[in-house]
């Protein structure tokens, strides 16, 4: 059994390890201004992000991200359920929603700076506005595609509206909602970085741009690595939450042995 385990890990690990090794050796001793050696980047990374600037830059960024993302998910859920259940309301709002969601989040940055001034609130609202759409649209979709048969079942048991929502509609829409929430997370991270490009004085996005402006290329690369790791870890965290919440869905999708 453990031999199998080891093989499994090897199959999934050999390519990333090989790519890293290639990067390392291809860039070793590099004097290129724009492409420093991997060892230099890693050194800079441990200098900058283990753990010097974590407190001053990473944590505030993550806080802003967290609040903005939560706001997006909540707003998306509530609005999505309301519109998902009310067919005519949803159809009436559709043109407006189609338009609003097509506004490139980045383009709202100037708009929001004027509205909210520079600061944490502006960034939170910006993130929320950018990230709400996948959650909203997927929630509407998920709520509307509940198996009609299950709704009939709810009717025969005379469940109240809240009970129906809690025991049938929401669990059924769960996978869709989580898919939307995952896209929203990716968008939120992007918008978080974008939000720090103008007039910020801290944050990982600001640090990245500052490094670029000051031609601290190695630092810039180290921050890119940091952002990549942060993005990946957030996704892992998300997947864990999703796996717990959607345990039933994962089990249902496991293929059963065909009957003889």
């Amino acid at each position: 059994m453990t031999a199998r385990r080891i093989r499994s890990v090897l199959v999934e690990a050999w390519l990333p390890v090989l790519l890293l090794a290639l990067w390392w050796f291809a860039s070793a001793g590099s004097t290129d201004l724009y492409f420093p050696s991997l060892s230099a980047i890693l050194q800079q990374f441990s200098q900058d992000w283990l753990f010097a600037h974590v407190g001053t830059d990473l944590v505030p960024s993550l806080q802003v991200l967290g609040l903005g993302y939560l706001a997006a998910v909540l707003a998306g859920l509530l609005l999505g359920i309301a519109l998902g259940l009310g067919r005519r309301a949803e159809r009436a709002c559709r043109p407006l929603l189609e338009f609003l969601r097509a506004v490139p989040g980045v383009a709202l940055l100037p708009v929001f700076i004027v509205l909210f001034d520079l600061g944490a609130e502006m960034k939170i609202v910006l993130i929320a506005t950018g990230a709400v759409w996948p959650v909203l649209l997927n929630t509407i979709d998920g709520v509307r595609s509940v198996e009609p048969l299950l709704l009939d079942v709810a009717g025969t048991f005379r469940l109240s509206r809240w009970q129906r929502l809690r025991y049938i509609v929401l669990p059924s829409a769960g996978p869709q909602i989580f898919a939307g929430a995952r896209t929203a997370l990716a968008i939120a991270v992007i918008v978080m970085v974008v939000g720090e490009t103008v007039g910020s004085t801290g944050g990982i996005g600001y640090f990245l741009l500052n490094a670029e402006r000051n031609f601290a290329i190695t630092s810039m690369w180290a921050t890119i690595v940091a952002l990549g790791i942060v993005g990946y870890l957030l996704n892992v965290l998300f997947r864990i939450v999703e796996a717990i919440a959607l345990r039933w869905h994962r089990l249902q999708r496991t293929r059963l042995q065909p009957k003889g």
């Binding site: 199959v11 050999w14 407006l96 189609e98 810039m220 990549g228 957030l234």
Partner: protein
Amino acid sequence: MTAIRTSLARPASRAPRPVTVGRPGARRRPRRGRMLLAQAAVLAAAIGVWWLISLRVGADSVPTPGQTFRALITLSGQGEFWAALLDTCLTWAIGIAVCALVGIPLGLFVGSNRFAARSTRFVFDFMRTIPPIALVPLALLLYGPTRPMVLLLVISGAIWPLLIQSVYAAQQQEALLSDVARSFRLTRRSRFLDIFWPSSLPFVMSGLRVTGTICLLLTVSGELLGGAPGIGTQIQQALNAVDNPRMYAAVIAAAVLGVVVNAVLGTLRARVLRWHPSVRGGQR
């Protein structure tokens, strides 16, 4: 060789039910007029809210709908504006074409091979979570404020959904159809064209839709943050000139572009997937 003949009479069983083939997905139209009215009302209400905010905060901060509309008219009269829109469209088109031409075949290939799929899983998963924005400074340093800079950003950021969905598509082939293919001894060419490719299409199309949307988002972002020619730069310039109505107008233009892109991708999907349950809706 045996010649086979049927009897002249039709079998005694009931005649087959005549099949009416409506347009796949056609439904009975609900009260169309009333819905259009409701939709217009919602849009009007939104504009109304905008107007109220503008009044409250002051037209210096938030231009009124009227000012913005006038700025939009002015913009549409300027050749520079249309050139910028065209630039963005072109960049988007190139971006999505490259993503599709690289991502789809690569994804389908990787997905059909268990070892390849497992080997690349971590790499794809990791690369897709790198916020594309992180590459803006690097791209700027390498290419300056030009289209290649934006394309580097767009392709490296937007290809992942399409790639990953294509991998998924190759893995989600219906097992029964594999039996059908084998029992009818279909050629390799037939297996690919008649079974593998059409059954991959639903996933590929939904990946294409997401990638297409991200392509546009990254195109405008790249222009706005990097200064390459396009509608994003128009927004940036208006911001620098502290010309709020013009800035709002440019943002709206970008949004309209987004709506058009969405509509195009949606229509493409509906055409290609005429047969798919999600598109054919009303039929059985």
